[in-house]
């Protein structure tokens, strides 16, 4: 099937998720759509699949303009999508799942399972899929479930298959099987769109590569006309922003240290993590999200118990202390998820700005709080950090993403704690707020605080950090001086997923 997206734009409020993107997909072609998280890949594809109907631009299928009302329209026109999270009925058989909602019926209106089984078996045989259609879905492995999802599309005669991060959950063997099936589909003339952020896979299987970054289409070329380096460059963004002015620091004293810490739920191979953050420096932890950053941060903050090792905050062990004791000792935390962890959306700005300090003598006597002092404090935060909100009594829910995040940052930095943990502090906020937050972090560093920055954005890591670790697959690389490291090198380390040679590479990376 020939499909085109013509000058597609999608806006979420004031945020432009997809900006004037045109893409074309040809039959018998595997088209890889790559880019970082939040680059707009999935949003663009949800337009093509009819999940998102609020867009500007045109969808052209086989030279005809189309506009879907819902995914059902797209499906009946031959567009199929496999989502990252499967949508299968666990307790039903493979056959029942595949024919669900398009069951063949006989004259009396009963489902004709015999006819269905025959046509499904035909599909399984002709594409050489490794599934037994009589099995229950609950008995299947993840790879087989994915095959069922694909089988569903084939059964509905989809000619354009969209696969969203299909290898994210697969073992290497399953991945090979998937790629074999994709080659079979390609040979039979179907178009395949592969949404991914893993470059190695693109190099292995794609015919055409399109790169998106922050909503824009950066390039769209045949694989043979481009190179791995060029793709990487395009994903990350060629030019780095101008560095913010920072003081020259000569950090001598350790602010925070992890000594051979083993964190549950981190890696299959439990390799201990060691990490030092000096006072007066920003240490960046780069990595694609989901590589163990969350458990690491939770362990430091005190939301997750560690199995062994030790953590020291200004030379005192904090491993056995709870969150509030660690915060009192000198830790503040800007969480990644401001909606759920960083803020209570239905509480007011006042209530949100003093949550971890309410027992502080400044605000209460331990039993009753002083509303005047609280209000004054939050008004001060609002004006110092230029937070746009009606009044400090307004609910936080009414604020924009950038202002919400500024409130979190303001609350945490205002406490002037020795160690600041910033976890994707600028995720999903507008450019103005990003600059403000970056400036504040640098300011804290210049004042001699220890800052641990965990981020999925290479630019942010490179722009702010003094030293950089890369986290991949639950393992932390040795620290690299940010003066010596290049974006390409970081990108390679971050993107080498499940690469058995990673640990060797990491060891070689020592400065």
């Amino acid at each position: 099937m020939k499909a085109e997206l013509h000058e597609i734009s999608v806006n979420f409020g004031t945020f432009c998720a997809v900006n004037n993107v045109s893409l074309s997909f040809a039959p018998g072609e595997i088209h890889a759509l790559v880019g970082e998280n939040g680059a707009g890949k999935s949003t663009a594809m949800s337009v093509l699949f009819g999940l998102n109907t609020d867009y500007q631009g045109n969808i052209v299928i086989n030279d005809q303009h189309r506009r879907w009302k819902s995914p059902a329209d797209a499906i009946s026109a031959g567009v199929g999508m496999v989502h990252q999270h499967f949508m299968l009925q666990e307790t039903m058989s493979v056959l029942e799942n595949v024919i669900l909602c398009s069951e063949p019926v006989n004259k009396l209106g009963f489902v004709s399972f015999a006819t269905a089984a025959k046509s499904v078996q035909n599909l399984i045989d002709s594409y050489d899929l490794q599934i037994d259609q009589t099995q229950k879905v609950s008995e299947l492995s993840v790879g087989q479930r994915q095959a069922v999802e694909i089988l569903k599309l084939l059964y509905r005669r989809s000619d354009l298959l969209i696969l969203d991060e299909p290898t994210a959950v697969l073992t290497p063997n399953e991945k090979n099987e998937l790629f074999q099936s994709l080659s079979n589909f390609k040979a039979s003339g179907k178009s395949i769109i592969l949404i991914t952020h893993k470059i190695d896979e693109v190099m292995m299987i794609a015919d055409k590569v399109s790169v998106m970054r922050s909503g824009n289409l950066i390039s769209s070329k045949l694989l043979k006309n481009t190179s791995k380096d060029e793709i990487q460059q395009n994903i990350i963004g060629g030019t780095l922003p101008k560095p913010i002015k920072r003081k020259k620091m000569h950090p001598k004293n350790i602010g925070f240290e992890m000594k051979k810490v083993i964190i549950p739920g981190l890696a299959t191979r439990r390799k201990p993590i060691s990490l030092k953050v000096y006072l007066g420096e920003i240490v960046g932890i780069a990595g694609v999200s989901g590589n163990g950053q969350t458990p690491l941060v939770e362990a430091i903050v005190g939301l997750r118990n560690i199995l062994s090792g030790n953590m020291l905050l200004s030379n005192e062990t904090i491993s056995d202390k709870d969150v509030s004791a660690r915060r009192r000792k000198g830790l503040s935390y800007i969480p990644e998820d401001r909606q759920r962890v960083g803020l209570a959306l239905d509480a007011s700005v006042i209530e949100n700005s003093c949550v971890s300090q309410i027992r502080n003598k400044k605000f209460s006597n331990g039993y009753f709080f002083n509303l005047q002092h609280l209000r004054k404090f939050s008004e001060q935060l609002v004006s110092e950090y230029d937070i746009r909100v009606g009044t400090v009594k307004s609910k936080v829910r009414t604020m924009s993403g950038g202002n919400k995040q500024k409130l979190v940052v303001a609350r945490e930095l205002e406490q002037k704690k020795q160690l600041v943990i910033a976890e994707n502090p600028t995720w999903g906020v507008d450019i103005g707020a990003i600059n403000k937050i970056h400036q504040e972090l640098i300011k804290m560093r210049d004042m001699g605080h220890a800052i641990l920055l965990v981020s999925n954005e290479i630019e942010e890591i490179m722009g702010l950090s003094d030293r950089i670790h890369v986290m991949a697959n639950g393992q932390l690389s040795e620290a690299m001086s940010s003066a010596e490291v290049t974006a390409n090198k970081l990108g390679k380390l971050m993107l080498s997923h499940n690469d058995p040679t990673l640990s060797e590479k990491l060891e070689k990376m020592q400065p």
């Binding site: 979420f12 509030s324 969480p335 962890v341 209530e351 027992r359 009753f368």
Partner: protein, 342 residues
């Protein structure tokens, strides 16, 4: 704004039409029924019915406060009924065995009810924290043992056999809650008003109330901010249970002067209290009028049945409709995590 006005008008019309047609079905006179309703709720000789309404309102409001305190901390304690019963039973037990009466005795009896019910509520908290039983399930299921434990005690060890009923002996008169002079209204409602004021202060001005609210709004936020959420949950449950227990003790010392099987369960004090708290979407000051509203509907319905021969179920149907209308207007209590924008 006009939209709201229209929907308010439409709802009132619908209520009135339903009410009229139900009364027509019951073959009664419409205006006579309405008059009987208001007289039953607020009138009577020397406002006797109003005093009954106040006394009922005190118990319902008390239970609404108990529910409110737990709900706003994210603890769906729907075991108010069990806590009420345990509180009532414990206070009756202490009252019967107490060798002295007077204010000190009354204080001790109330305290016993509060402690017993608080402990009963904490069981659900412990089941949640150490066994993972959801608070909703734990508190609900604990209603049944509470009810049957009380049943057993009043049918066997504590039974006043000569009365022929499953109930305890009458409590010494010196332990009864005194009446407001010249009326038949006991001072129980003053205790509830007092608790109401304390709870307002708790909700709006104390560190504990603030921390409980934050925990209820987002437990992840509370944890990451360093609040001791386990401790807060247990304390809040205990507080909620203790208030339910106080209501039980007031019903025993003020209204019934003994514990009769089912006397705290049948009038649905606990459930009506939960509905009242939810109806005002957990706004602390509003539980007082909400409690009074439900009490008025109940005593009005009884009045209607007495004088206009209209079954009191009709009033309960109207109450149900009002709850539906109000609930559809106040969706904030439970779905605060749905549809979060950026």
């Amino acid at each position: 704004m006009t939209h709201r006005l229209y929907s308010l008008l439409a709802a009132s019309m619908l209520l009135l039409v339903t009410f009229a047609s139900l009364i027509w079905l019951a073959d009664a006179d419409f205006f006579k029924s309405i008059m009987a309703f208001f007289k039953g709720a607020f009138g009577g000789r020397k406002y006797a019915y109003l005093l009954v309404t106040i006394s009922k309102a005190a118990l319902i409001t008390g239970m609404a406060i108990a529910a409110l305190i737990a709900f706003r901390a994210g603890l769906f304690n729907i075991g108010g009924e069990g806590q009420l019963v345990i509180g009532g039973l414990a206070s009756a037990f202490v009252a019967i065995n107490l060798p002295f009466g007077g204010p000190a005795g009354i204080f001790l009896v109330l305290l016993a009810g509060m402690i017993a019910a608080g402990v009963w509520a904490i069981i659900a908290g412990i089941m949640k924290l150490w066994l993972g039983v959801p608070i909703l399930v734990g508190t609900l299921l604990l209603n049944y043992p509470a009810r049957y434990i009380a049943s057993y005690f009043v049918s066997h060890p504590l039974r006043d056999i000569s009365s022929g009923m499953p109930q305890t002996h009458l409590i010494e008169k010196s332990l009864w809650l005194p009446l407001i002079p010249g009326t038949r209204l006991d001072i129980g409602f003053i205790f509830i008003l007092f608790v109401f004021c304390l709870v307002l202060i708790y909700c709006y001005r104390t560190v504990g109330g603030y921390e409980a609210k934050m925990t209820g709004l987002s437990i992840d936020f509370a944890n990451a901010s360093g609040l001791k959420t386990k401790k807060i949950s247990l304390e809040t449950l205990a507080l909620s249970g203790a208030i339910a227990g106080l209501v039980g003790a007031i019903a025993v010392l003020g209204l019934h002067h003994r514990f009769t099987d089912g006397m705290l369960v049948q009038p649905l004090y606990a459930w009506t209290g939960i509905v009242a708290a939810l109806m005002v979407s957990l706004i602390p000051w509003a539980v007082l009028p909400a409690g009074f509203f439900f009490a008025a509907i109940h005593s009005g319905a009884s009045g209607m049945e007495r004088t206009a021969d209209v079954p009191k179920e009709i009033a309960i149907i109207i109450q149900g409709m009002i709850i539906l209308f109000v609930a559809s207007k106040v969706p904030t209590a439970f779905n605060q995590n749905i549809g979060d924008g950026k």
